[in-house]
Subunit: 233 residues, 2 copies
DNA sequence: ACAATAAGTAACCGTATAGTTAAACCACCC
DNA sequence: GGGTGGTTTAACTATACGGTTACTTATTGT
């Protein structure tokens, strides 16, 4: 039930407001579509990562982006579409970083170790990635399903690990019956689980899982786990 | 600012409402504190698991529990306190089930395999546990921190796995330098990650991770991973 | 038998939420 | 130098939210 005419609103400031009290001072550029859009995306990433899709507030994203809320709807259409954009960017970022590792230029064993190390470091330095993925899985991946670009990048990623595995088998250093998908999942799992559950984990195991030595110990343990799994006895 | 006197409300039905249209018919017992409370707890578990703490709605929990919303506040005090009760119960449940495995009565290797198998099966059959833990970690474990009972159960759990490890080392079948905490985390990780990320994972790897054969393959892979990690070469 | 108490209800409150509206602003082209 | 069209704004809407109030009804101890 739309009740009141909209004209009424603009009647109010008959006398102009005394003085535009002071400009927010931050955000030097005016009228820059590109940077506004990317400020929104960055703020949204932070908020969605911290509170999840359901917990994040559009108003707060707008405020942190130093943009008007209307801009979010202008550039992205809806809260969910914004979430999808954030998620897509997060996936493209990690997959791109993986491609830059130049694993083809390394011995199979060294390449594998490097991948385990990279995965761990990436999760550690980009904790938003983990939280975003968790949130997306809570929603049964309905946003990722729509993303064609993520599928393209994923394919390249799986191929990359398969190639290492093949080279290792050919060189006689890796076992022949390792499934690349299972290996990929395991490499991610042993880092991801530790970090995403670092809060409950620290309570259950009565130790600070984020202490420097604890993190080092975990990385070494993970490398050991993967190599024992893959290397020929 | 509480404005209106509450009397006004009861004035309204001067003529009694024609007929109490019909009782909801479900919920046979009247005035049973215990079952009402547990219905609320069960409904809350489902809702929190499906939507997370932020996404779950108190009204909906009340409705699904066939209870009045006021009862939730009567028995639990607040939405967060309700969440804490749900979480506590979930942890006590899994830790209790683990204690019933009678791992002390098995050979070390068999005990370890049984634990990996149990962990996997438990996650598979109780997917709410995973989602609740994820939600709690999004909130930096602020609810679990307050739970003394969970700490007691956790200690017993770690001790149980340490005992297996010790027996295995004494029997000469396990490597001596395995950290029980790292092992615990890894056993959980390789199952947990696969299942919590089954939606995004099915897209990234372009395969149905929840297909029967896929699940079997994963369990076998996980047992293999743990045994290769722990067994003496 | 009955008062005290525990269990239960529906209507309500103040606030916050995602999303919308009409208008103003500004850079650029002609 | 005035239109044109993308960019930005504050004010607004309908609804949903967690939590509370005033009040009713069943159960229980004496």
């Amino acid at each position: 039930m739309r009740a009141l005419p909209y004209e009424r609103r603009r009647e109010l400031p008959l006398t102009k407001p005394p003085v535009p009290p002071e400009k927010p001072a931050t955000r030097p550029q005016v009228r820059d579509a590109r940077t506004t859009k990317s400020r929104i995306l960055a703020a949204a990433k932070k908020e969605f990562a911290k509170k999840g899709l359901g917990g994040a507030r559009v108003d707060e994203i707008a405020e942190k982006a130093q943009a008007n809320k209307r801009m979010i709807y202008h550039y992205f259409g809806s809260k969910e579409a914004l979430f999808q954009a954030v998620l897509e960017e997060a996936y493209v970022d990690i997959r791109s970083a993986e491609q830059k590792l130049d694993l083809d230029g390394l011995e199979p064993k060294a390449a594998l170790e490097r991948l385990v190390r990279f995965t761990w470091d990436y999760y550690l330095k980009n904790p938003e990635f983990i939280t975003l993925v968790n949130s997306e899985n809570l929603h049964r991946a309905k946003h990722l399903k729509k993303s064609e670009i993520v599928k393209v990048y994923s394919r390249r990623f799986v191929a990359m690990v398969s190639a290492i595995l093949d080279r290792g088998v050919a060189a006689g250093v890796f076992r022949a019956d390792i499934d690349p998908v299972q290996l990929n999942i395991t490499i991610a799992a042993i880092g991801y689980y530790y970090l995403t559950n670092r809060f409950t984990g620290s309570i259950v195991f009565e130790t600070d899982l984020m202490a420097k030595e604890a993190l080092e110990q975990r990385l070494n343990f993970n490398i050991d786990t993967v190599l024992r799994l893959v290397l020929r006895p």
